[in-house]
Amino acid sequence: MLKFLFKKERQVQELISRYLDNLRSTQEHFEKAMDCYFDFGLGENCDFLITQTHKFESRADDIRNEIIEMMYSKVLIPESRGDIFRLLESIDLILTHFETVLFMIQNQRLEVPDFITLDLRDLMRVSLECSDLVIRQVEAYFKKTEDIKPLVSTIDSLESRCDHMERETVRKVFDSDLDPFEKMQLKDLVNHMGEISDQADRVSRSVHIINIKRRM
């Protein structure tokens, strides 16, 4: 009987699961596209993976809009609607950073010099670890599968590591003999990659606050 009464709530819950699965797929394709770029440079394969990442990002937007539309058709209490709405908007920015990094590389025909390739790979790996943990944390919040508090501190320390790596890489770029224009392009790329972990940390803190707020 209750299942029948709260059908829309279940639908929102299923849509959020779909959104998080889609988030994982976007992240996987971003990682593949970046690996392809670091290994083989821009080419057909890399372009295909960038397009795939973009498609997953667009699908995430569609699911997010569907969730918001359904929530505001009187599903959940208004306070919860606001919390979920803000959370989804915040998560969406992580996807935007994935896309921005790939489009920067593709549209500006960026070439990463060898002396920072390893640094960028490391930065990408740690950023993706951050984003992976955030997805786990958001899932844990919605499904109550695990305690989210330890994840907050792990994400925070990973984000600090990313900040440090970001600064180091930018310093290396500006210490090099590269053309000033190239330096600015690479600095932008590094900053955008760093934004992934920054945004993941913001989402993680939001989830933590929403969780505390709901404790009576």
């Binding site: 709530e9 279940r10 919860s80 919605f142 709901r214 009576m216």
Partner: protein, 313 residues
């Protein structure tokens, strides 16, 4: 039947005004549609009046002896007081207006049951205090249960919504049981109605008020009320319902508005926040003193007016 119109009007206005205290938070927070909430409230008000309204009627009719005319006068005096105080924008208590009017009639009769009056006065002081104490107890209890349940956002929202419907229904039951005496006790005192007929007519008129005119009041109250989170709103509704129900069992009609204000203060104490503005509290205190006084004056004046005789010069 026409002589009961004053009482029915009072019941109608009571339903229209007080429904906001029991289901207003559920409707204004859009957890329940107005019509769903109003129908639930009207049904439970009637059930409360029929099943638990006798004790209050016994107390009020025992405060003094009524004649047919005095019953009508006290009911009109109470209705006028409620209207006047509403026009002044003060949070009026129908229970205090009715008791004040009965006192006015009792003064004219020179027949006042001071024992019964003492019981009523103690309960009036006890209403906001009871609201505060019960809100603190209910908050602690529900918070402990809620925190130990480890529910996700969807489960806790569903539970909260169901609890609000339950608390609102209970609040409506308590409102009917406690306040039906305000509407028809004077008619029982004058021998115009039996207690069961009085509870039925009173319950129906309060229910009618909820169904026909409470939406507008609810919207206004929803906007004026302090911003409570849904859990605190549930605590307030439940604490108010328990307070009013206790007084229904004791047999003294009390104000649901005063119980709500007490409960909101209680939530503020436990959360360490200022939930009610000082101005609202001053208004409540002013209304607390002026409502019974004004109702007595109205009853005296109406009685005096009905005894005036035209002597041709």
């Amino acid at each position: 039947m026409t002589s009961l119109l004053g009482g029915i009007f009072l019941g109608w206005s009571l339903g229209a005004n007080d429904a906001a205290n029991v289901i207003g938070s559920a409707v204004s927070s859009r957890m329940l549609k107005f019509w769903t909430a109003a129908i639930i409230a009207a049904v439970f008000v009637l059930a409360g009046a029929l099943l638990g309204g006798q004790a209050g009627i016994e107390t009020l009719k025992g405060l003094t002896h009524f004649t047919y005319n005095q019953a009508i006068i006290s009911s009109i005096a109470a209705a006028c007081t409620v209207t006047f105080m509403t026009l002044l924008g003060l949070p009026v208590s129908t229970s205090q207006a009715v008791v004040g009017a009965i006192l006015g009639v009792g003064i004219l009769n020179r027949q006042l049951n001071f024992e019964g009056l003492g019981k009523v006065l103690v309960c009036w002081i006890g209403t906001p205090v009871g609201g505060i104490v019960l809100a603190i107890i209910v908050y602690k209890l529900l918070a402990t249960i809620a925190n130990s349940m480890n529910l996700n956002i969807f489960q806790s929202d569903i539970l909260l919504r169901l609890c609000l419907i339950g608390a609102g229904s209970y609040g409506a039951y308590a409102l009917g049981a406690n306040n039906v005496a305000n509407v028809t006790a004077v008619f029982v005192g004058a021998g115009m109605l039996s207690i069961s007929a009085a509870t039925l007519i009173g319950g129906l008129s309060i229910g009618l008020g909820i169904l026909t005119f409470s939406k507008k009041v609810m919207e206004t109250v929803g906007q004026k009320l302090v911003k409570l989170d849904p859990f605190s709103a549930l605590v307030v509704v439940l604490a108010q319902a328990i307070t009013v129900h206790i007084y229904a069992l004791v047999g003294v009609p009390v104000s649901t508005s005063q119980a709500v204000i007490g409960a909101v203060l209680g939530v503020g104490i436990i959360r360490g926040v200022n939930t009610i503005q000082r101005r609202t509290l001053v208004n409540v205190l002013l209304a607390w003193f002026f409502t019974p006084f004004l109702a007595s004056v109205f009853a005296l004046a109406l009685d005096f007016a009905t005894h005036l005789r035209y002597i041709p010069g």
